[in-house]
Amino acid sequence: MEQAIQQLINGISLGSIYALIALGYTMVYGIINLINFAHGDIYMVGAYIGFALTTFFNLGFFPSLLISMALTSLIGVVIEKVAYKPLRKSTRITALITAISVSLFLQYTMMYFTGPQTRTFPMVLENRSLSFLNGSVVMDIKNIYILMITLMLMAALQFIVRKTRMGKAMRATSFDMEAAQLMGINVDKVISFTFAIGSALAGAAGVLVGIYYNTINPLMGSLPGLKAFVAAVLGGIGLIPGAVLGGFSLGMIETIVSANGGSIFKDAVAFLILIVVLLLRPNGLLGKTTKEKV
């Protein structure tokens, strides 16, 4: 019982990070149908910016988080303008390879400037933990921060998408880009805005993972990036609640698998789930099936 609660706590923290990255994937996919492979690397860049701010500028946790989010959203917009916009009319496979080239570029540029070694993220939060049930369940203060920040960011995202004009434009563009354009929506602006928000969330996830695991390296983005994509597909790609559900489910499943002695297989489990979900419910847990028309 205690162990189950402990795993729940760990699973939620891991799931929060997946969910934050998955949100960016899902929003971009929802609007321009592109699997943005560079998204995982934006998360890596976010972690490095957080690292630089806390180590070299001695900033606190919250200022670093906000500056990191601002900078990654800028990077996201620049990537969209430079790399994806010229290829918007091209085929899927071209766009996908472009995304991969952007991903490689970010990884190895970062490696060129910072070196391939793993770096230690400084302790920016006080090292305090709460124990429950006579100390058999330990909840680190970091877990609470991660969950709270994730929930706040998700609430903010939900507000933007549901209540603002820009959010309405995003939903319209995602539903039918051409019709949205005919209704006077500036589609380019909407796409840039989507990249900005998605990248900011990834940047936040990067800083959070930095404080959670304390280590960062230039290639840290690729596997979590893929897994966050799995999470997005699991929940139903293109759906914001789906990404959250998928992220938390994947975090929980991975924690449960590694706790039960399967830690070496935990990455395989994520992809196995992906294949099973794709076969049974290709549109994800929350997705609706659409009939194909000739």
């Binding site: 149908n33 699997i35 790399a83 010229p86 290829l87 091209s90 085929t91 899927r92 496979i93 071209t94 996908l96 390879i97 472009t98 991969i100 080239s101 952007v102 490689l104 570029f105 990884q107 190895y108 540029t109 490696m111 060129y112 690729s222 893929l226 994509f229 799995v230 597909v233 070496i264 297989f265 990455d267 395989a268 992809f271 196995l272 992906l274 294949i275 794709l278 076969l279 290709p282 194909e292 000739v294």
Partner: protein, 316 residues
């Protein structure tokens, strides 16, 4: 198909002459070991790219897990030649067959998916194969498989490359190959015309996997040593890049793509720190300025002539 006619005899002579020239240059030591290594790598890449081109370029099924089949082939060959001590030919054939069986087993369920979903499912399959290989102690696990006998040489590599080109080209000129091309052009229309789409998709997948297995076998028996990480997601991407760079749906394109990209990566070795950055920029440049690849879906004159004689449809 007539095997011998005036045009084709020159082609056969050309193929044999090309082999003989390199064989002489390699055995007399004009071309050193380093060049031989790169030539064999180019052959392996050509075989991989041809297999993937059949799946992605000709049948239109988007696969991001091609390295997994190479991995299966490499490990099969390693077990057959190193652990069981059987001859290399058996290793190559068993590698191809095991990989093709894996292709069928994976293809039957996943090929119901379309586009991006299929890409992601195959990506997941590739990761699963890698993680399994990492955790099976019999084949060395994460440490890798050591002491594989070195059988691969120019003769084997070239022979297998020619075999792959000939078999895939003839497959595409057969009615089965045209069924595959029909699926790429319009799956629903193809189905309406009576093409059994599932069967042909799985068939293309199995043939592509077969050649990936052979390439894996050549790889394992050239480098003595294989480890699961050599066949990761990036390897699949490398193969895909060759195919797209050469031109989706062009056999000549895959060959040229493999050669050009290998040469580019060779030239970049002198700037090893910047290698991947330049590679990424080159990739981006190609996608931006030449998204259809070097050859588009065209073939060389020499390839075209043979195709016309058989009354083939050319890609379109």
């Amino acid at each position: 198909m007539r095997v011998f006619n005036k045009g084709s005899i020159f082609k056969y002579i050309g193929i044999i002459l090309f082999y003989a020239i390199f064989q002489v240059l390699l055995s007399t030591g004009v071309l050193d070991d380093y060049i031989e290594l790169n030539i064999i790598l180019i052959c392996i890449n050509i075989i991989l790219a041809l297999g993937l081109n059949l799946i992605t370029g000709f049948t239109g099924q988007f696969s991001l897990g091609h390295a997994a089949f190479m991995s299966i082939g490499a490990y099969t060959s390693a077990i057959v030649t190193a652990k069981l001590g059987l001859p290399f030919f058996v290793g190559i054939m068993l590698s191809g067959i095991t990989a093709a069986l894996a292709g069928i087993v994976i293809g039957i369920p996943t090929l119901r998916l379309k586009g991006d979903y299929l890409a992601i499912a195959t990506l997941g399959f590739g990761e699963i194969v890698k993680i399994l290989a990492l955790n099976i102690d019999y084949i060395g696990g994460a440490i890798g498989f050591n002491d594989i006998p070195q059988y691969t040489n120019w003769t084997w590599a070239y022979g297998m490359t020619v075999l792959a080109v000939v078999l895939i080209k003839n497959f595409l000129n057969s009615y089965k190959g045209r069924a595959c091309i029909a699926i790429r052009e319009d799956e629903i229309a193809a189905e309406a015309m009576g093409v059994n789409t599932t069967f042909y998709k799985v068939l293309a997948f199995a043939i592509g996997a077969f050649f990936a297995g052979i390439a894996g076998s050549l790889y394992a028996n050239y480098f003595y040593f294989i480890k699961p990480d050599s066949f990761n997601f990036m390897k699949s991407i490398d193969i895909l890049v060759i195919v797209v760079f050469g031109g989706l749906g062009s056999i000549a394109g895959s060959i040229i793509g493999a050669i050009v990209l290998s040469v580019i990566s060779l030239l970049l070795q002198s700037v090893s720190d910047l290698r991947m950055i330049v590679y990424a920029l080159v990739l981006f440049g190609i996608m931006l300025f030449r998204p259809a690849g070097l050859m588009g879906n065209q073939e060389f004159k020499i390839f075209k002539k043979g195709a016309d004689a058989n009354g083939s449809v050319k890609g379109q």
